[in-house]
């Protein structure tokens, strides 16, 4: 069972995001980076499939600057077999289409039954690259996936996905793109031997030119801003619950006018 996992490195969820003084982006100094949490689910699922079939390969594919190597190594330490790192200045701030083009170009040299993406990257929050990659590879997509069962002949997969107000069970022919959603699994931690082994696993470095992609920007960002600062409002302390509840319920109607 061969899986290709598209992995993005993103700021740690603990990060306090600040907009730079020019309003052109965020302040990147001091940011700690992690694997996009949804991509971590993908790594775990790919590993489980390989373990279940007792054969195959898990390839990690990332577009990002030098620091992205660290996240690829973490995935290798979890158990993935090898990495492909597309490191190119022109792709560092790229929009999801340009990223999908680069991912697709790299995917063409890899054998896979399933391509995993996260359903969204928690930095730019676009949630587009997976579906775009599927279209570029001319394969089906199943998004927001919470359960995957691949048939013994690896020709189809039974997949459960989130839909509004419930779940949908689909059967999808392979190869396909699946986008991971919370609930898919509980990602493992890298073990110490895993970390040692990861150091020797290959990471293939590529540039946009190597892949023959020249990304044309399809989206442009302009002004970054902070959300309006929320002020602490009224706090009711040392009060009978009944009294506090009455005051707040009345305020919701008469002051905040939301009920």
């Amino acid at each position: 069972m061969k899986s290709l996992v598209c992995l993005k490195q993103v700021p740690d969820t603990e990060t306090q995001i600040k907009v730079n003084s020019e309003g052109t982006g965020i302040v990147t100094e001091g940011i700690k980076y992690i694997i996009n949490p949804y991509d971590e689910f993908s790594v775990e699922e790919a590993l489980r499939l390989k373990e279940k079939f007792k054969e195959g390969e898990v390839v990690i594919l990332a577009v990002g600057p030098d620091r992205a190597t660290e996240s690829i190594r973490t995935a290798l330490a979890m158990g993935a077999d090898r990495g492909i790192h597309i490191n190119d200045e022109s792709l560092n701030q790229a929009d999801p289409y340009a990223v999908a083009e680069a991912l697709a170009a790299a995917a063409r040299d890899v054998e896979y039954d399933v391509v995993f993406c996260g359903h969204r990257a928690i930095d730019d929050d676009f949630g587009e690259a997976g579906a775009m990659l599927a279209e570029l590879l001319q394969v089906p997509q199943v998004t927001l996936v919470t359960k995957v069962e691949v048939s013994d002949d690896k020709k189809t997969a039974g997949v459960e996905r989130d839909v509004e107000g419930g779940t949908e069970v689909v059967e999808v022919p392979l190869p396909c793109v699946l986008t991971s959603q919370k609930g898919l699994n509980e990602p493992r931690y890298a073990s110490l031997p895993g970390i040692m082994k990861a150091k020797k696993k290959p990471i293939d470095k590529k540039t946009a030119a190597d892949l023959g992609v020249s990304s044309e920007a399809r989206l442009e960002s302009h002004v970054y801003s902070m959300p309006p600062e929320r002020q602490a409002g009224k706090k009711y302390e040392d009060m009978e619950p009944a009294e506090a509840a009455k005051i707040v319920v009345e305020a919701l109607r008469n002051e905040a006018k939301v009920i």
């Binding site: 969820t13 603990e14 990060t15 995001i17 907009v19 949490p37 949804y38 929009d95 289409y97 999908a100 928690i122 930095d123 730019d124 929050d125 676009f126 587009e128 690259a129 775009m132 599927a134 570029l136 089906p140 997509q141 998004t143 927001l144 039974g158 997949v159 839909v163 509004e164 107000g165 419930g166 779940t167 949908e168 069970v169 689909v170 999808v172 396909c176 919370k182 609930g183 399809r218 989206l219 302009h222 002004v223 959300p227 929320r230 409002g233 009224k234 706090k235 009711y236 302390e237 009060m239 619950p241 009944a242 506090a244 509840a245 009455k246 707040v248 919701l252 905040a256 939301v258 009920i259």
Partner: protein
């Protein structure tokens, strides 16, 4: 020829409210650009919705009907939408950032060779180009974006854009199109929908959320609160509650759960971690009930009650019921 086109999502035989939000926003944009507003509807017997959309400013409904559109399928719907866009050549195409929209918009965009400005909370025009403002980092900051190529695609966060009536004639144009079924796609085997009529978190007007402070999987106390608020209210949870197995993962609010913008968010037994605040910090009004006066949630709450939620919420429910029954 429509300059602006919206995609109207149909769910359970009904047009979703987000279609009217898009129509209202699309109407404004079309007027500024001096052009028509079209709406694409894909499914069976979709013409019936034309009068509803006309009320919110849609000039013409493009009805795409074929047996393959009986239920939603990414590949077939994306083909149909891309076909209508290709035929009518709108400058701007708007979808809703609903569960379906998140699946459909990028696939359609890729077929057209463009990207979509996803999850916008407002739109404006700058030199005839659409500028969408959207949260990033789950709402920790915002940025304005434009699509540089034509058509300019964007999706709007549900429940944020206002609906405005603007009666139009309500023409219907049937588009005859059958999807190319030789393109591989999935087949739906089962759809398990919650039939309780519970609104999705991202579309709820009021959310009552419970965290680790709920102490276990019994959420009946705040489910009662939600029931008193009525059908536009639903129950959410923090990651701590989800990870403990008390609530389904689809209930999680936060940076790795759902980003929500209800009119009212009631946080019970939730400390207010940075990840949770990212997901609900844009709620219009926040109420927090927490026994720890130092809990960070209080720094964001409009109304905070320091106390044991098991003592406060029964009283809250009583007061609420009395008020709403008046």
């Amino acid at each position: 020829m429509s300059k602006v086109m919206i995609y109207g999502e149909i769910k359970g035989g009904k047009l979703k409210k987000t279609a009217f939000e898009l129509a209202s926003a699309g109407r404004k944009i079309a007027d500024e650009l001096g052009g028509d507003l079209g709406a694409v509807l894909i499914g069976n017997e979709v013409e019936q919705f034309a009068p509803d959309l006309a009320l919110y400013g849609v000039d013409v409904v493009y009805a795409v009907e074929a047996p393959e559109f009986e239920s939603y399928n990414t590949e077939y719907f994306a083909q149909a939408l891309a076909h209508v866009i290709g035929e009518k050549q709108p400058e701007i195409v708007l979808l809703s950032h609903t569960m379906q929209g998140k699946d459909l918009a990028p696939r359609t965009a890729a077929k057209l060779g463009v990207a979509s400005v996803a999850d916008c909370v407002s739109f404006e025009l700058d030199g005839g180009k659409l500028v969408g403002k959207r949260p990033m980092y789950a709402g920790k900051c915002f940025a304005t974006w434009t699509a540089t190529q034509s058509p300019q695609m964007a999706s709007a966060r549900p429940n944020v854009l206002e609906t405005t009536e603007n009666q139009k004639e309500g023409k219907v144009e049937k588009i005859s199109f059958s999807p190319d079924t030789s393109r591989p796609t999935y087949a739906t085997q089962n759809l398990n929908l919650d039939t309780s009529g519970k609104v999705d978190l991202t579309e709820a007007e009021i959310i009552v959320s419970g965290g680790r402070g709920m102490g276990g999987e019994d959420y009946s106390l705040i489910e009662e609160t939600a029931a008193i608020f009525g059908p536009t209210c639903t129950v959410g949870a923090s990651r701590a509650a989800v990870d403990a197995g008390w609530r389904p993962h689809s209930d999680q609010v936060g940076q790795t759960g759902k980003t929500v913008t209800p009119n009212l968010y009631v946080a019970c037994g939730i400390s207010g971690s940075i990840q949770h605040l990212a997901g609900m910090g844009s709620s219009k009004v926040i109420v927090a009930v927490n026994k720890d006066p130092e809990a960070p949630i209080f720094s964001k709450a409009d109304y905070g009650i320091v106390g044991d939620l098991f003592k406060v919420m029964p009283e809250f429910n009583k007061e609420l019921k009395a008020l709403l029954e008046e």
